[in-house]
Amino acid sequence: MSMTDPGPAAGTSRLASLFALVRRRPRETPIVPRTSIAASALIAVVAIMTFLASLTTGAVVLVRGAASDWQSDVSREVTIQVRPMAGRDLEVDVVRAVEIARSAPGVTAVRAQDKAESARLLEPWLGSGLSLDSLPVPRLIVIQVTPGRPPDFAALRARLAAEVPSASLDDHRGFSRRLRAMADTVVGIGLAILALVMAATVLSVVFATRGAMATNRPTVEVLHFIGAKDAYVAGQFMRHFLFLGLQGGAIGGGAAVLMFLVLGLIGGRLFGLGGSDAAALFGGVSLGIGGYMILLLQVALVGAVTAFTSRRVVAATLKAVS
């Protein structure tokens, strides 16, 4: 049966009515009381969950950033190794290999390491002051390639094999693949932890909403008796939990942002990352603007998840009551 609804919701979109419900009206007391022990407990739970989620997200952002840096470094450079071979002149082979490399499209620079550089590379293992003339030490040729438009490595490899049999091309693909796999694993684990934290948040909100509904049962009854629809009642609870979720999210997310900022500032000194191998590996603990934006978005997401979860729980409970 169709009935006339004198309320303003008639004819307006669902989104507009939702907006009207959450819109700030400073002088109005919230219909669902904002302060209670349960509300404080939920804010604390959401804050802890958001803090953990932010730490995880931050770690994922750092690992992804570092892996991307490593990969771009690796993909910008390939090497040709020229080994000494009986019956062949190493110097001639190096010169020929450099010529072949230079002629390949996509190559921006080619530089053959001289004997002194080879000696420096071997120094940690063989010690200093050693003459390499008597040793069959291979020579390296470092090739810079255009990122995104690398040369045809198969063709280059085939040409080297044909003209300089003692040369072999290493495009670092295996290392790059292992690096990507490791980074993907870390990101996957991070996302799984995020999913668990979100699930725990949703469950906390479900229980908190049920508790709030039980506590505010007289309010719900009065709202019904004065003609409020279920959507209106659910909207009031959604508004209540949106504020709780945003408060908790801001506290937890804010603490995490603060922690990353402090680590970014003093991390190098604290963990000895500055200039060390670890710094080269992890690239420091600075999230960058993008990382902080993701953390802020996460706070908004936690608020939204809290609000919509409570709305669904209230709607389902009211439906069951009817």
Partner: protein, 219 residues
């Protein structure tokens, strides 16, 4: 406005607490609903404000068969009914002003559009100085008047009051009755559930008497 035909009500598998109720409430009418304690007055009021559905019979409210209405439609219908509960049911965390304005807020009206209306009504029921007070600090009589003000603020077509003078002194009871009579003169149908014979004797109106679950109408 309201039509009951052979309406019966039972709770669960218990005996029928209301049996074969057949009566009408006409527009602009005034009636007392009375009967001994336990006769079913509150149950009948709950049927009238749609918080219960009958186990048998037909209830027509504002030309709608209530059995065919969905939940949202019932909510819309309830906006045309004002209810005064015996236990007031004011929301303790909201001021008297906010409690009285609640039906208008639920309708989605902006506060600027109803502030004067609510303040005027609060002055009329003698709560002009108590607008900012929270219900826990109001006296029984003040709560009663706040509950009545909340019930009538949206100008309902039907006003139901459950023992509205049960917690007030005779003078205030008289004033409240005058308030209900004024509302009735302005077009609202009024049903007052009471077992206060003194109150009923003050105004010559139709009486619906419940006895052992059956209704007897004295026009």
């Amino acid at each position: 406005m309201v039509r009951f035909e052979n309406v019966g009500l039972r709770y669960g598998l218990g005996p029928e607490v209301l049996r074969d109720l057949t009566f009408r409430i006409e527009p602009h009418s005034f009636q007392f609903l009375t009967g001994p304690s336990g006769a079913g007055k509150t149950s009948l009021l709950r049927l009238l404000f749609l918080s219960l559905r009958p186990t048998r019979g037909l209830i027509t409210l504002f030309d709608h068969d209530v059995a065919t209405l969905d939940k949202d439609s019932l909510a819309v219908l309830r906006r045309r009914i004002g209810i005064v509960f015996q236990d007031f049911r004011l929301l303790d965390h909201m001021t008297t002003y906010e409690n009285v304005a609640l039906p208008l807020r639920v309708l989605g009206r902006e506060e600027e559009t109803y502030r004067d209306e609510v303040e005027e009504l609060l002055h009329w029921v003698g709560l002009g100085e108590r607008m900012a007070a929270l219900p826990p600090v109001l006296s029984g009589g003040e709560k009663q008047r706040a509950a009545i003000a909340r019930a009538v603020i949206a100008r309902p077509q039907l006003l139901l009051a459950d023992e509205p003078t049960g917690n007030v002194d005779p003078n205030l009871a008289k004033r409240l009755l005058r308030l209900f009579i004024e509302l009735n003169k302005s077009g609202t149908s009024v049903v007052i559930a009471t077992h206060d014979i003194g109150l009923m004797d003050q105004y010559d109106a139709r009486r619906l008497v419940l006895h052992e679950g059956r209704i007897h109408v004295y026009d």
